[in-house]
């Protein structure tokens, strides 16, 4: 476990993730944080960690890079870029902060104290008298069904691919490979895959070959066009 890098700033003391969490939770305003101070301390910590040969996680490095860049830019006379970078760093968080601020403002004004009434009962006819076209209706159906499809239970066919999918066992392919080699003790490796189009079957056959090589029951020779040879009559090693 790596020690958390702690910062001591005028308004804050603690590790960076806590700092970010506090900003996110609106407990601390990013504008009150001195980025330069933060960078200095960050680099100091980073140097200390290097001396102690501690692992520096990519997350920290990324953060450091951003902060250093921020600092270098802030040393240049172009202040716009500093501001832009500051925004980039805080963008999402500030957005949420202003959302909370707006929510508070709305909350102060919101009132359910004014009441409305329904339409007058003397006019019960609310029947629709307009028109719409079949095309509009059809388009609306496609629109609705296009979205909701994922909310509907998947149709039977959706499962068939999974259920009917043949999972080929490696052991069945071991038997297949041994049978072939017993007919002809040496043959082209690729020939073992002839006529196999099913993905699962190919994978299982490959794994079967590995398994048999590991068990010393077959051998694979040759760089190009390798050949498989049955060893020991295909019996288990040591039999």
């Amino acid at each position: 476990m790596m020690d958390k890098i702690c910062y001591k700033l005028e308004t804050f003391e603690g590790p960076l993730d806590l700092l970010l969490a506090l900003i996110a939770k609106n407990k601390l305003d990013i504008f009150n944080i001195q980025i330069t101070e933060l960078v200095d301390q960050y680099l100091e910590q980073l140097a200390a960690m290097r001396e102690r040969r501690m692992d520096v996680t990519s997350e920290f490095l990324e953060m450091a890079a951003r902060l250093i860049y921020l600092k270098t830019v802030s040393l240049l006379p172009k202040h716009e870029e500093t501001e832009r970078l500051k925004c980039e760093l805080t963008g999402q968080l500030i957005e949420y902060q202003s959302c909370k601020r707006a929510a508070a403002q709305l909350g102060e004004r919101f009132s359910f104290d004014s009441y409305t009434r329904g339409p007058e009962k003397m006019l019960p006819d609310r029947r629709y008298h307009g028109h719409f076209t079949l095309k509009e209706l059809y388009a609306a159906y496609l629109s609705a069904a296009g979205r909701g499809k994922r909310f509907l239970p998947p149709p039977q066919e959706a499962f068939s691919a999974i259920v009917s999918h043949r999972i080929v066992s490696v052991s069945s392919r071991i038997i297949y490979v041994l049978r072939r080699l017993r007919l002809r003790t040496e043959q082209r490796y690729e020939a073992l895959f002839d006529g196999i189009h099913n993905h699962s079957e190919r994978v299982a056959t490959f794994l079967a070959v590995l398994e048999l090589i590991k068990g010393g029951r077959i051998a694979l020779n040759g760089d190009q066009n390798p050949k498989v040879k049955l060893l020991n009559g295909g019996g288990k090693h040591g039999d």
């Binding site: 009441y115 409305t116 009434r117 329904g118 339409p119 007058e120 009962k121 003397m122 006019l123 609310r126 029947r127 629709y128 008298h129 307009g130 028109h131 719409f132 076209t133 079949l134 095309k135 509009e136 209706l137 059809y138 609306a140 159906y141 496609l142 629109s143 609705a144 069904a145 296009g146 979205r147 909701g148 499809k149 909310f151 509907l152």
Partner: protein, 179 residues
Amino acid sequence: MEIKKLQGAIEAILFASGDAVSVERIAEALAIDRATAGKMLGNLADRYCTEHGGIRIVRLEDGYQMCTNPEHAAAVRAALEIRRRMPLTQASLEVLAVVAYNQPVSKAFVEQVRGVDCSAVISGLVAKELLEERGRLELPGRPLLYGTTANFLRCLGISSLSELPQLRKEQETEEEEAG
């Protein structure tokens, strides 16, 4: 002044109610006696009885009620007729379409297809006489079923549901490809 405030409160109550409100109820709500409430209601009704005024307060058997001045019935009808001819919202069209192609269906079905609550839209469409209830589904909770109305066919300019455009296979293929 206090009387003005009470008058305003009575006005607000009559307006928000829609129905007739009894003198007792108003007296109770405002913590005044019946006689005072009655007198104030009478005064308020008089105040509304102006020439060409849009609203009237009428005395009914069970209390007082606010309603439109019948003199303006034609104007009111004209304005509300226009509303009934306004284009349907996208949400309404989608709900109509889902019901039209799958009827009779429950609210839950429509909501599952659209992915959002559709209660308000459905009751709006029932009020507009574009959808109607079609009994209940024999399932726990016995949910109501909805179907389209004759008015729906009329608004579409067709005489039967068989004239609805066929949902093409193409769409299914597209969906499979997308999915």
